[in-house]
């Protein structure tokens, strides 16, 4: 080990001291800066990823709807032919027609508004299959319904109970003088996606049954495509749209483009703010190292008298900045993991103290704080912190190395 590295380590962690105050405070300062930066980035990535996932699972990788209103707005006249054609496209993993609409759901004295979606129960790619909380997806048939957890709780129903659905089409029957009988379904499964908006309203029934209740005939409201390469959805949607001027192919990126852009912008702004926090932490390290170098002025003179060159003195103090940065970054990574692991408990405690309620559920519609670890964020934070802390060490080191030994020894 070079002598200056040995001495740098000893000056940072003096032997015989249980609590090397300077090193501990500096390393903690860097660690907190790094952790703050990474926690914010990882949670923001999580929000972005969760929203993208939600968009893809709700609307598919690509949503196909009518370009012009036909008999009724946004309906496809011959969805089955379209589905068959789209399934033949090499980029398409699956295609399934859907229809959706609001209905009144009732169970005894309890009622709620359901967002009913008619789906193909035989489609193996149905995203709902991944979120079944109780019961079985495959039991879904013309007499059964899958309810979101929140809606099921609102209606006080469990798997096996019966619910009634009243669609707007029943009002049309009443206008024609016919008795508006509700459609009765047995609950075969409970859906829990973690997205409050979905869980509090979703009611999934077979598309065939939806068409009956809503008097749709063979029509559907759209087709959901799952693509083999979802990331290329924009390019594939453009290609599939050729020859279908009466249809709109909306890739998932375009469905909520402004929203996704807002999340990306929010992440960039937060990175900028956290960057400033880390910069402030680094400046405080620089100032602490500066005072340490001044305090050691006479030692710098002695080292020069012993033959230490400018480069070695520069390395001695520069390395202390680098070591603080490296240890602080490592500790910051660990701290990030810890904070993110206990994120919901921490948020719960904050909510309990400030009485703000669960904003993650009420505002962002998530059951818990979403996460997405992006290695690039960790690399960027690590490199940036090491760079800044090393610079913070080198500036006072440059000052120390530039002095004459006689001056340095006179100062102390």
């Amino acid at each position: 080990m070079p002598w200056f590295l040995h001495l740098a380590l000893r000056q940072l962690f003096p032997p015989g001291k249980r609590f090397p105050a300077f090193a501990t405070v500096s390393i903690l300062g860097v660690a907190l800066g790094v952790a703050t930066l990474l926690v914010v980035q990882t949670v923001m990535n999580g929000f972005g990823e969760a929203h993208r996932k939600r968009i893809r699972e709700s609307f598919g990788d690509c949503q196909v709807v009518a370009a012009r209103p036909l008999a009724r707005p946004d309906e496809l006249a011959r969805p089955d032919e379209l589905v068959a054609e789209l399934r033949r496209a090499p980029e398409v993993a699956s295609a399934t027609a859907y229809a959706e609409g609001p209905a009144l759901a009732r169970h005894g004295d309890f009622s709620g508004v359901a967002a009913v979606r008619g789906i193909d129960p035989l489609d193996p790619a149905q995203p709902a299959r991944k979120y079944i909380h109780g019961g079985t997806f495959d039991d879904l048939d013309d007499g059964r319904v899958i309810l979101g957890l929140g809606l099921a709780q609102q209606l006080r129903v469990r798997v096996g109970d019966k619910v009634e659905l009243w669609s707007p089409a029943m009002a049309e029957r009443a206008e024609k003088g016919k008795a508006p009988l509700p459609a009765e379904f047995e609950v075969c499964a409970i859906l829990r996606t973690g997205f409050t908006e979905v869980d509090n309203a979703a009611a999934l029934i077979p598309l065939r049954r939806f068409r009956e209740i809503w008097n749709l005939g063979p029509r559907a409201h759209g087709v959901i495509l799952r693509l083999k390469e979802p990331a290329r959805a924009e390019e594939i949607a453009g290609r599939l749209n050729v020859g279908h001027p009466d249809l709109v192919f909306r890739p998932w990126q375009a469905i909520k483009r402004n929203f996704l852009e807002a999340i990306r912008f929010e992440k960039t702004m937060l990175f900028f703010l956290m960057f400033i926090i880390t910069l402030v932490a680094s400046f405080s390290i620089g100032s602490t190292l500066f005072s340490a170098v001044i305090r050691r002025s006479r030692e710098v003179g002695v080292l020069a008298a012993l033959g230490a060159g400018r480069g070695a003195i520069l390395a001695l103090f520069g390395l202390q900045g680098l070591l603080i940065g490296a240890l602080g970054t490592g500790l910051g990574f660990l701290l990030t993991g810890g904070i993110l692991h206990f994120r919901d408990a921490i948020l719960g405690a904050i909510n309990a103290v400030f009485g703000d309620g669960d904003m993650v559920a009420s505002v962002y519609q998530f059951a818990n704080i979403p996460l997405h670890y992006d290695p690039a964020d960790f690399v960027a934070a690590g490199v940036f912190t090491l760079l800044v802390t090393t610079l913070a060490g080198f500036v006072p080191a440059l000052w120390a190395a530039g002095r004459k030994p006689s001056e340095a020894m006179r100062d102390a």
């Binding site: 008298a305 012993l306 230490a308 004459k404 020894m409």
Partner: protein
């Protein structure tokens, strides 16, 4: 006649002061031969420490030049810091985070001696100054006299031709000062080194083979 190991010619040094330049050394010349000990006395502020720093290459004279013996040639000490000249300071100037052994070895490591050889040399020298048993102690756990012994060992570790000692007993009690001075002179004599000793003590100055006084920026025989 022994070879010249330190040669200073026409050294002048002035410092900036509010009233203008303050001359400290005006025309100092000095030659020291191997095995010779030279004491320099003078009042406070007479420029003794400045002279030692110029002789050791820690500062640059405004005029004149200094040469010290290093690896068989007389060279400017500034180019060979840590090799041709060994320093002993009044306040020991040990690294507080390093043990006695590491402090001595550090001086050798700085000039490029491999770690194992530096440690071996440091251990031998600590034995020479009577501190073998305290090699692993930090300076904070050593007495003033012991610290100065470590500093002496450090000054010797790179086998310099000249030892420059700036008030080496200034911080010590009478008995310890006597011990250190005896050790310093014994080591210098045993190794055939040249010694330039700056001291306020007339008694210690008398023990040198040549005695000088620095006054008015000029060196003269005591």
């Amino acid at each position: 006649m022994p070879e010249i190991v330190l040669q200073a010619t026409g050294l002048a040094k002035a410092f900036a002061a509010p009233a203008g330049l303050l001359p400290v050394l005006t025309a100092v010349s000095l030659e020291v031969r191997a095995g010779e000990s030279v004491s320099i006395r003078g009042s406070s502020g007479s420029g003794k420490t400045t002279l030692l720093q110029l002789l050791g290459g820690l500062d640059v004279p405004d005029a004149g030049e200094v040469r010290v013996a290093c690896e068989g040639a007389l060279v400017a000490p500034r180019r060979r810091l840590g090799r041709g000249v060994g320093f002993v300071f009044q306040n020991y100037q040990l690294m507080p985070e390093l043990t006695a052994l590491e402090n001595v070895a550090l001086a050798a490591r700085i000039v490029g001696v491999p770690a194992a050889a530096a440690t071996a040399a440091a251990r031998e020298l600590l034995g020479l100054v009577g501190l073998a048993a305290r090699a692993d102690h930090l300076p904070s756990r050593l007495s003033g006299g012991e610290c100065q012994r470590v500093a002496l060992a450090r000054a010797l570790v790179n086998r310099p031709a000249v030892l420059l000692a700036d008030e080496p007993t200034g911080n010590l009690d009478e008995r310890t000062a006597e011990e250190i001075m005896r050790l310093l002179l014994d080591v210098v004599a045993a190794r055939g080194l040249a010694l330039v000793l700056v001291t306020h003590s007339r008694e210690f100055a008398e023990r040198a083979s040549r005695r000088l006084v620095l006054s008015g920026g000029v060196l003269s025989p005591a």
